[in-house]
């Protein structure tokens, strides 16, 4: 029960945001990639406010939608590359 804030357990979105910002600060991460599984509503509902909050803190983010068991199209690689280029 003492894990990180978790939407399936009802943690407020603001706690998740604080946690993410803290992680980014500690690790020196300059961007966040959200890797969301299609139809996963606990994650999808949180996404816009998390991204907006990170943006406000100067941390850009990228969302990649995944369908379990499906390979990612090459397009996703291109987007990640572009995201990394933007950060460097």
């Amino acid at each position: 029960m003492s894990g990180p804030p978790d939407p399936t357990r009802g943690s407020p979105i603001s706690e998740r945001l604080q946690y993410l910002k803290g992680l980014a600060g500690k690790s020196g991460a300059r961007g966040v990639i959200f890797y969301d599984v299609k139809f996963c509503e606990p994650e999808l509902f949180d996404l816009p406010q998390l991204r907006a909050g990170l943006q406000a803190a100067g941390i850009p983010s990228l969302t990649v939608e995944v369908d379990l068991n499906d390979a990612q199209p090459h397009q996703v690689l291109t987007r990640i590359e572009a995201f990394v280029e933007m950060l460097t």
Binding site: P7, G10, P12, I13, S14, K38, F39, E41, P42, L44, F45, D46, L47, P48, Q49, R51, A52, T63, E65
Partner: protein, 439 residues
């Protein structure tokens, strides 16, 4: 609240009510028949229903300026407690349905999508979040919440959705967690668990409302809620008659007060009057469709933006939706409400909604309804936006067809997102289904 603000609110309410009354009188004076003679004559009382719902939203517009606190709640939330504390209660799901029937839902949903909310999320949630973001609504204005109450007896989605609202409005969120019922009866520990949550909710709601909860007021609200639910059940049971006097599609419209105004005396009066009108229709042999030949069951939420079309496609072939598991859900729990033990009985009542019970229970409910209403077939709406209601429907369809010998159709759509509705495909599938039924 300042004196002038209160006065403005009173004037606004008086003016609004006069406008709604005028609309009703005009509607009542209009020609009684639909354009074509597929459907039976419209209910006389529908103009009054519209006025009642209009007055509810009008009241909301001025709730804050009258010093009332506002709660936004899920459709399965224990509202009696909030009513007894004089909260003005908003049901975002009902508001979503209003946007759906008014065909404004798509516009506000795209606002939510533009803000990053996935199209895979529930269309009620997207309608609500979109409305909160852009403020556009057919009901005038929705007061912001001072309290949010989400009860998981209809889905887990509401927990995730209401957490978004909690951030947007910086309002406290009360969660009532209702363990899923796998078996026929709720185990005592589940009832106790919900009861304790309700007891813990009381001081929170009291603090926000600034009022004290009295047992007497709570009993009174529970009594009104029970009576209204019983009357609503009776309304639906009038469809045991042939021809059925009120189609499930008409019930979808007339159910608004039992959901969002449960516990109000006007709701009791409204359904008592509706029952009177249905008895009159029965005495005169009036049905929901002109020539009733086949009687059907509907499972899942309505397709709010195509109610009339569906009624006409079916009605043209003499088919009528006589009953639905959805409208039934707001009547079947009436016996569980005990006004003498309002909190304890609420703990039980709010554990028993159909969506908090097993798929086997839903199948049994449908079987019982097939007998009770002497039905010829079933349409199962596979609702992209409501997974808990749609899960199990493929097996349920097969069982109904094989074991009960009732043709059953799975119809893919979405309750509030018209972009997930294929006009031609639905028409084709319904036409083929009606042929099998032999209408």
């Amino acid at each position: 609240m300042s004196g002038p603000e209160r006065l403005t609110a009173l004037a606004g309410i008086a003016l609004g009510r006069a406008a709604l009354r005028l609309n009703r009188i005009r509607a009542e004076g209009r020609a009684r028949a639909w354009r074509d003679d597929i459907l039976g004559p419209p209910l006389r009382l529908s103009a009054r229903g519209k006025e009642l719902v209009g007055r509810h939203w009008l009241e909301g517009r001025f709730a804050h300026s009258q010093g009332r606190k506002v709660a936004w709640v899920t459709s399965g939330a224990p509202v009696e407690l909030l009513k007894a504390l004089d909260f003005y209660v908003v049901y975002p799901e009902n508001h979503g349905a209003i946007c759906g029937t008014a065909r404004t839902a798509e516009g506000v949903m795209t606002e939510a999508e533009a803000a990053g909310y996935s199209r895979d999320l529930c269309s009620y949630a997207r309608t609500d979040i979109g409305t909160a973001l852009c403020g556009r609504t057919p009901v005038g204005r929705i007061p912001r919440p001072d309290l949010l109450v989400a009860c998981t007896n209809i889905c887990q989605t509401v927990l995730f959705w209401y957490r978004v609202l909690a951030e947007m409005f910086q309002a406290p969120l009360l969660l009532i967690d209702t363990p899923f019922l796998y078996y026929a009866d709720a185990p005592p520990h589940a009832v106790e668990y919900v009861k304790r949550q309700l007891e813990e909710a009381v001081p929170v709601a009291e603090r926000i409302s600034g009022k004290r909860l009295t047992q007497e007021r709570l009993r009174q609200v529970a009594r009104l809620a029970k009576t209204a639910s019983e009357l609503w059940m009776e309304v639906m049971q009038r469809n045991r008659h042939r021809p059925a006097p009120i189609s499930a599609i008409e019930q979808f419209i007339q159910m608004a007060p039992i959901v969002e105004m449960r516990g109000d005396p006007q709701t009791v009066d409204f359904y008592a009057a509706l029952l009177g009108e249905l008895d009159e229709r029965i005495a005169r042999g009036l049905g929901a469709v002109q020539r009733e030949r086949k009687r059907l069951l509907w499972d899942n939420l309505p397709v709010w933006y195509r109610l009339r079309d569906l009624a006409e496609i079916l009605g043209r072939q003499g088919a009528v939706l006589v009953a639905s598991t959805y409208t039934n859900a707001w009547g079947e729990l009436a016996p569980l409400i005990d006004p003498e033990r309002p909190l304890e009985s609420a703990a039980r009542t709010y554990l028993y909604p159909i969506l908090n019970r097993s798929t086997g229970h839903k199948l049994a409910t449908m079987r019982r309804m097939l007998d009770e209403y002497q039905l010829d077939g079933v349409i199962l709406h596979s609702d992209r936006s409501c997974k808990p209601y749609s899960v199990g429907q493929i097996d349920q369809r097969a069982r109904l067809a094989q074991d009960c010998g009732k043709p059953a159709l799975l119809l893919e759509a979405d309750h509030n997102d018209p972009r997930c509705y294929s006009e031609a495909q639905v028409a084709n599938r319904l036409a083929a289904y009606l042929e099998i039924l032999g209408t």
